[in-house]
């Protein structure tokens, strides 16, 4: 482990604390509200499940209810930001930035106003709600929009930091959060700076670069691989855009192979972003952990993660495959 990442000591402890990243969003919103009077929070009838109700309780005058109207939420927020506020818009990622994608493109990204878009319930780990509510394309939708910053925090603590950091980022920001409780394995001391990836574990044989809650699986896979004599370097690339090219390239130049890990369609997601960089600057074998052109379905989060090929075992297999492909 990289000591400078200040992760918790017992990663494999079965009693590891768990919390959903949306909790970090809720706490981060309250932090943001305290730090800056311009922060306002909008929500489309999902206050409790996006955790924006914590902000509402603390700052009722700065909470704006939209009803079930995500397109309008984007345009109202664009207006508020145009005037001088710093709006956070909260919904499920399938609706925002899904349903309201064109409004985000025109009135937020092209307009270049500082609206912060929080997409909750992203990923297949939404679970029983099924495919309609499992956003698997939101990273792709957001990273192709100029002016947009894209953040995918790996646990509740990092989600809280990312939310507050978004306030001080000038332009539009997309923040991606999950529904299900996931291990809290970073600490308050773990570095977080937009655009700066963090090496969580040092290794020489392969790079595992990931974003979001699956990074925990990546770390567990790396620990288990170590027993086979494979030392994986694990990178937390919480900022998909702007991507920290330097950190990723330095690692892959050392290891010669990479596995990317994300709870998202492989097409257009984080792995694609890494691939775009590597093919240009340092072509190297890459394996992708993510969803392979499928919609999700109902089930328990853990079983879905495994069924769709994103479990610890899948990551280990991908590492072995990619190492074999090294020249």
């Amino acid at each position: 482990m990289n000591k400078e990442a200040y992760l918790i000591k017992n990663l494999t402890d079965s009693n590891i604390e768990k919390a959903p990243t949306r909790d970090g969003y809720g706490k981060g919103l309250v932090d943001a509200g305290e730090k800056d009077d311009c922060v306002v929070v909008l929500c489309a009838d999902l206050a409790e499940s996006t955790r924006s109700h914590w902000f509402k309780e603390k700052f009722p005058q700065r909470y704006i209810e939209l009803g079930v109207a995500e397109q309008n939420m984007a345009t109202i927020a664009a207006g508020l930001a145009n005037y001088g506020k710093i709006p956070f818009i909260s919904s499920y990622a399938v609706f925002s930035p899904g349903r309201n994608n064109e409004q985000i493109r025109t009135t937020i990204s092209l307009n270049n106003v500082p609206v912060k878009i929080a997409g909750a319930h992203a990923g297949i780990s939404v679970g029983p709600d099924g495919a309609t509510h499992q956003a698997l394309e939101d990273i792709a939708l957001m990273r192709v929009q100029p002016n947009m910053t894209v953040l995918v925090p790996c646990d509740a603590i990092e989600a809280r930091k990312a939310t507050l950091a978004a306030v001080f980022c000038d332009g539009p920001v997309y923040l991606r959060f999950g529904r299900e409780k996931s291990p809290v394995f970073t600490t308050n001391k773990t570095p977080f700076k937009i655009g700066k990836a963090v090496v969580f574990r040092k290794g020489k044989d392969v790079t595992i670069a990931g974003c979001g809650v699956l990074l925990y699986n990546a770390l567990i896979a790396a620990e288990e691989l170590s027993k086979e004599g494979i030392e994986a370097e694990v990178i937390n690339s919480h900022t998909i855009k702007p991507l920290d090219i330097e950190t990723i390239l330095n690692s892959v130049k050392k290891t010669g192979a990479v596995v990317t890990v994300e709870e998202h369609q492989i097409a257009g997601g984080f792995g694609s972003a890494v691939s775009e960089v590597l093919s240009q600057y340092f072509p190297a074998p890459q394996e992708f952990i993510g969803v392979r052109d499928h919609f999700g379905e109902s089930g328990e989060p853990d079983e879905l993660i495994k069924a769709f090929g994103m479990g610890v075992l899948n990551i280990k297999e991908a590492v072995r495959r990619v190492i074999k492909r090294k020249a």
Binding site: G67, A74, T75, I76, A77, G79, K85, N111
Partner: protein, 287 residues
Amino acid sequence: MSEYIHDEKVKKLEVMANAIRQSLIKMLVAAGSGHTAGPLGMADIFTALYFHILKHDPKNPDWSERDRLILSNGHICPIRYAAMAHAGYFPLEELKTLRKFGTRLQGHPERERLPGVETTSGPLGSGLGQAAGIAYGARMDGKKFRVYCAMSDAEHQAGNLWESAMFAGNNKLSNLTGIVDRNNIQINGMTENVMPLEPLRSKYEAFNWHVLEVDGHNIEEFVDAVEESKAIYEKPTVIIAHTIPGKGISEIEFDFKWHGVPPKPEEGVNFLNELRTLGGKIKSEHE
């Protein structure tokens, strides 16, 4: 500035509207593409806004206390550009750059390109939400400026607009005035044939708006309606302005085929002549 209008001022504005229409024809001919009918139809209203109604400063477009004019149907931006140039935001000469590479006068307006353009727009149905967001934010801070949102009639077929209308009505955004260019045409034909909007007045009333209807070419009537909207404290106001698409050029008037095409150069000469002679009533000094 809150003032009713006098006959002499109306006459001055009508002369200005004619000059702005001439600029419109020239810039559209030079551009070789763009929308003709909508901008001509809104020339009187944009003249009234920029030369009588709006609190603004062309030399200081970012003045924080300015009234905000949001143009939702961005495709009629030539009328905004022409009115802005005549008002002194930038030289008239620059109008010729419309739609050309490197121009500040993009085919659809962009906020970051041209100071005074307030919002990037074009995709329909999303201007009212932005106007309502600005109005909401301004009210939170006790700001006195007003927000105006110019919309087309056909964009009332878009759901986003009605979500915004619901929001503005619910929040009693009385500092917001909508202006609907009710010219009855859209790309595929007449609005009432493509997807009927009527009864438009009662739709807005049902969304808790104060509704006024005016002749969009009667500057006095329009100014009075705006004044009335300032006196309504419990609701946002919408002014349904009945306009003639292509107003001022007999060949273009009422013809939906002129929605998205510019005049050819030879047509431009005739149209300018029609404007300069007020339809043949007076002799043009350009002849």
